[in-house]
């Protein structure tokens, strides 16, 4: 998705909403339930940044970096819940 965000931002938006959006909301909700408000906050802030990028026309040049920030926040959240992230998120 990060690669898509640079080359094909519209496709990255589709990928975000079709494959990641609901799961990321669930992750944020579980982090809140666990009491890790800071990790939930960073994740939701990063999601909102990507959503704003997708909604912008044209998407801003910062979109790949914002997607990268979201991946870092998601990875941190998964770590906090002791869930091993997929390999592409650890490289």
């Amino acid at each position: 998705m990060r690669r898509q965000a640079g080359a094909h931002p519209a496709a990255a938006g589709v990928t975000f909403y079709d494959r990641s959006h609901a799961g990321l909301h669930t992750l944020a909700s579980d982090l809140e339930a666990k009491g890790d408000q800071a990790a939930a906050g960073r994740l939701l802030e990063a999601m909102q940044g990507v959503e704003a990028d997708i909604a912008a026309s044209p998407p801003p040049a910062s979109m790949p970096a914002d997607v990268g920030r979201l991946i870092v926040a998601a990875r941190t959240g998964l770590d906090a819940l002791s869930i091993r992230p997929p390999a592409c998120m650890t490289s």
Binding site: H8, T15, Q37, Q48, C88
Partner: protein
């Protein structure tokens, strides 16, 4: 509530898919039943009020558009102890989350990628007993009848202010509030200006004192955790632009400080009840200070606008 392993495994799969470099958005069609999720907050015994239910295909595509059938059964006052005996059928219509409407929507329930359609089905439903209930949602999709079930709790009374009640004269934060971090007025303002300036000019208390109708949205644009989150604040901003001569329009940010788990008092007065914070909410308050209507979780312009059009134009 502890993190749910099964949910997290689904999440992991979703994240794994998100890492892939493929650009395709289609998912394989599922053949099983539907995944149903009750999206309503604050259900209570009483006259019919809006009930909303989200439906997903097993492959996580949204079920959207057309109508579905809802049937309910009571399964116990304290816990689910009795068999589900389904009652009458309610026909529920689709409410698209703002910003996700299709130009040419299908006329029947259809499984669509979330990037194309997200929303809930709504029907006015009356509950006659407090306790635990189940809802069965059924729809004909691709020629086959599909069914999903979810559980819900109905309380003796509403916890969140409801139509007919007097609105609380809340002193929510505005541009004029001294010493307030901008993000406490709108969570999107952490690194920039406060958006939707028309929504932060006055308080609910001041509007009530002036006998002006009020449309107020309680929301946190950044920190919303509902899977049905959408640009509800922007939708209210659009209404404020078009109907400024009929009502006051107010956005109350939920969080004073999200990291410190501090809720704005103006939001807590209304939506932090029974030890539970629910958002977003939209309330329409009449000039006499009584709540006319409320919308939980998902609110659409199509539902709110007709009520604003019925309000008289305010004197200048």
């Amino acid at each position: 509530m502890k993190p749910r392993l099964a949910v997290c495994l689904v999440l992991l799969a979703a994240l794994l898919a998100a890492c892939s470099s493929g650009s395709g958005s289609s998912a394989s069609g599922g053949t099983g039943d539907l995944v149903a999720e009750t999206a309503s907050y604050d259900l209570a015994v009483g006259p019919p009020s809006r009930f909303i239910e989200g439906l997903l295909a097993p492959d996580q595509r949204s079920i959207a558009y057309g109508t579905v059938e809802l049937r309910f059964c009571f399964v116990g006052a304290k816990k689910a102890t009795q068999p589900c005996r389904l009652g009458r059928t309610y026909r529920a219509t689709f409410l698209p989350i703002p910003g996700t409407s299709l130009a040419n929507p299908p006329s029947v329930p259809t499984a669509l990628p979330p990037s194309q359609a997200r929303g809930v089905y709504a029907a006015d439903v009356a509950f006659d007993k407090a306790g635990f209930w189940e809802v069965e949602a059924s729809a004909r999709i691709d020629g086959k009848r599909r069914v999903g079930k979810s559980a819900l709790q109905v309380f003796e009374h509403h916890f969140v202010p409801a139509p007919g009640e007097q609105a609380q004269p809340t002193d929510n934060l505005t541009f004029a509030s001294p010493g307030v971090p901008p993000a406490a007025i709108d969570s999107r303002a952490a690194n920039g200006p406060i958006p939707d300036s028309e929504l932060h000019q006055t308080t609910i208390a001041a509007a009530l004192a002036a006998h002006r109708p009020v449309l107020v949205v309680f929301s946190t644009p950044v920190y919303c955790v509902s899977r049905f989150c959408g640009p509800i604040t922007d939708m209210v901003q659009g209404l404020a632009h078009d109907y400024a001569n009929r009502a006051a329009f107010i956005h109350v940010e939920i969080w004073r400080d999200f990291d410190q788990h501090q809720v704005n008092k103006g939001a807590a007065d209304w939506v932090f009840k029974n030890d539970d914070l629910t958002e977003p909410w939209v309330f329409l308050i009449a000039a006499d200070g009584r709540i006319t209507a409320r919308w939980d979780n998902v609110a659409t312009r199509a539902e709110i606008e007709p009520l604003l059009q019925q309000l008289p134009v305010l004197p200048k």
